[in-house]
């Protein structure tokens, strides 16, 4: 607080209900929250970056094995999931837009649509994972494929496949949990064009999860 008067006269008229005392303005609070979210996203980029580098190193070591192993993935299911995630990114950004323009009903509808898309994505992943389990296409020492004559090192592909898509799936689950909380607050009527920080930040997180999948899909399902 710059002066004593603003401090003592503090009330909801000049302070929105969600503005915390240590921020001079609501905009400053919004910008600080947003920068914090971006810093978190940076750590996410580096977290997944390590896995991508490991994948690239092992791919250059076992090119034939990776080529054969990736044939076990269904590119149709992968493409379907890509479309689902892109649509969910669209519904998420529409939810943010609805919050920015005081459209409470649309905000709720778009959040629910995003949650449904996330659910479909995980459902498809479940189908894919169970099929891999059935055929013994498992990571590391659990790899137990009975296929004859395949190139050696395929277990390495599935180690990365499960690590990367699994970590990504955990991010989807976490996103769904936070989105559920945002949905509850949206129904309660917390958000308006004056305050929609949680919607915006969940949106940022959700788009990053989508962005990671944009790279995962071609690398795992299409080329190798």
């Amino acid at each position: 607080m710059s002066t004593a008067t603003t401090h003592t006269e503090h009330n909801d008229a000049d302070h929105g209900p969600f503005q915390q005392h240590h921020f001079a303005t609501a905009e400053q609070q919004f910008d600080a929250s947003k920068l914090g979210m971006w810093l978190f996203l940076i750590t996410e980029v580096l977290l997944f970056g390590g896995l991508f580098v490991g994948f690239g190193m092992m791919q250059s070591k076992y090119p034939e094995a990776f080529m054969q192993a990736h044939e076990h993935l269904s590119w149709k299911l992968g493409a379907f999931n890509t479309v689902v995630l892109l649509i969910s990114s669209f519904t998420m950004v529409m939810a943010v837009l609805a919050a920015q323009t005081n459209e409470k009903k649309k905000l709720i509808v778009y959040l629910i649509l995003t949650l449904i898309c996330a659910g479909i994505f995980l459902g498809v992943k479940y189908v894919e994972y169970s099929e891999k389990f059935e055929h013994g296409l498992l990571p590391g020492k659990f790899y137990a494929s009975h296929e004859q004559g395949g190139a050696q090192g395929q277990y390495m592909f599935f180690s990365f496949y499960f690590m990367m898509t699994g970590l990504h799936g955990i991010h989807i689950l976490g996103g769904m949990a936070v989105m559920g909380w945002v949905l509850r607050r949206a129904i309660r009527g917390d958000f308006s064009s004056q305050y929609y920080t949680p919607v915006d930040l969940v949106g940022l997180y959700w788009h990053l999860v989508d962005l990671i999948w944009i790279y995962l899909f071609p690398l795992l399902y299409l080329i190798s």
């Binding site: 609501a26 905009e27 919004f30 947003k34 920068l35 971006w38 810093l39 996203l41 940076i42 980029v45 580096l46 970056g49 390590g50 580098v53 690239g56 190193m57 092992m58 250059s60 070591k61 076992y62 090119p63 034939e64 590119w75 493409a79 890509t82 892109l86 649509i87 990114s89 669209f90 998420m92 950004v93 529409m94 837009l97 609805a98 920015q100 323009t101 459209e103 790899y143 009975h146 004859q148 395949g150 050696q152 090192g153 277990y155 390495m156 064009s193 004056q194 929609y196 949106g203 940022l204 788009h207 990053l208 989508d210 962005l211 944009i214 790279y215 071609p218 690398l219 299409l222 080329i223």
Partner: protein, 156 residues
């Protein structure tokens, strides 16, 4: 948020986002189509270039970096810079590894027990071509499996 540099109109923004979604879906279709054609090494490059275009579109429009305060874009771009360093140096390492030169012995590619496609020295394993053949044959089997012993993994 009041005080944003641009005003938000619901209809105009919704149209823009719908257009972005359609663009992303078209790019996805192109990625899938391009992967069905064999360009050799080019497939990876095509896929990564398209993925990067899609990622840029997502960051600029869906993540609002286009109209956002520059500090967010600078922070995010810095992470990409460090990621590029990370990937770049690892690539240099992977591409510049060569088999150790062992004077007076047979060339490594002809050795039956030389390590797999990488053909490089594996710590803890006999140098390819250095140990007598019977010993070299027994060594990988004792090593268990793992990245260090490609010859020993997976017995089908």
């Amino acid at each position: 948020m009041s005080g944003h540099s641009h005003t938000v109109s619901y209809a105009a923004s919704a149209r823009l986002y719908a257009g972005i979604l359609i663009t992303l879906l078209i790019l996805t279709a192109i990625t899938v189509a391009a992967s069905r054609v064999d360009f050799g090494e080019g497939n990876v490059i095509i896929a990564l270039v398209i993925a990067t275009i899609k990622g840029t579109i997502v960051a600029l429009f869906f993540m609002h970096l286009r109209h956002d305060k520059p500090v967010n874009a600078i922070a995010f771009t810095s992470s990409l810079f460090f990621l590029a360093l990370f990937i770049g140096f690892c690539l240099i390492d992977a591409k510049s590894r060569i088999a150790p030169t062992v004077v007076g012995l047979k060339p490594i590619p002809t050795m039956p027990n030389a390590p797999g496609p990488g053909k490089h020295f594996v710590p803890g394993q006999p140098l390819p071509g250095y140990a007598p053949a019977p010993v070299a044959a027994a060594a990988p089997a004792a090593g268990g499996h793992g990245a260090a012993a490609p010859a020993a993994e997976q017995h089908h």
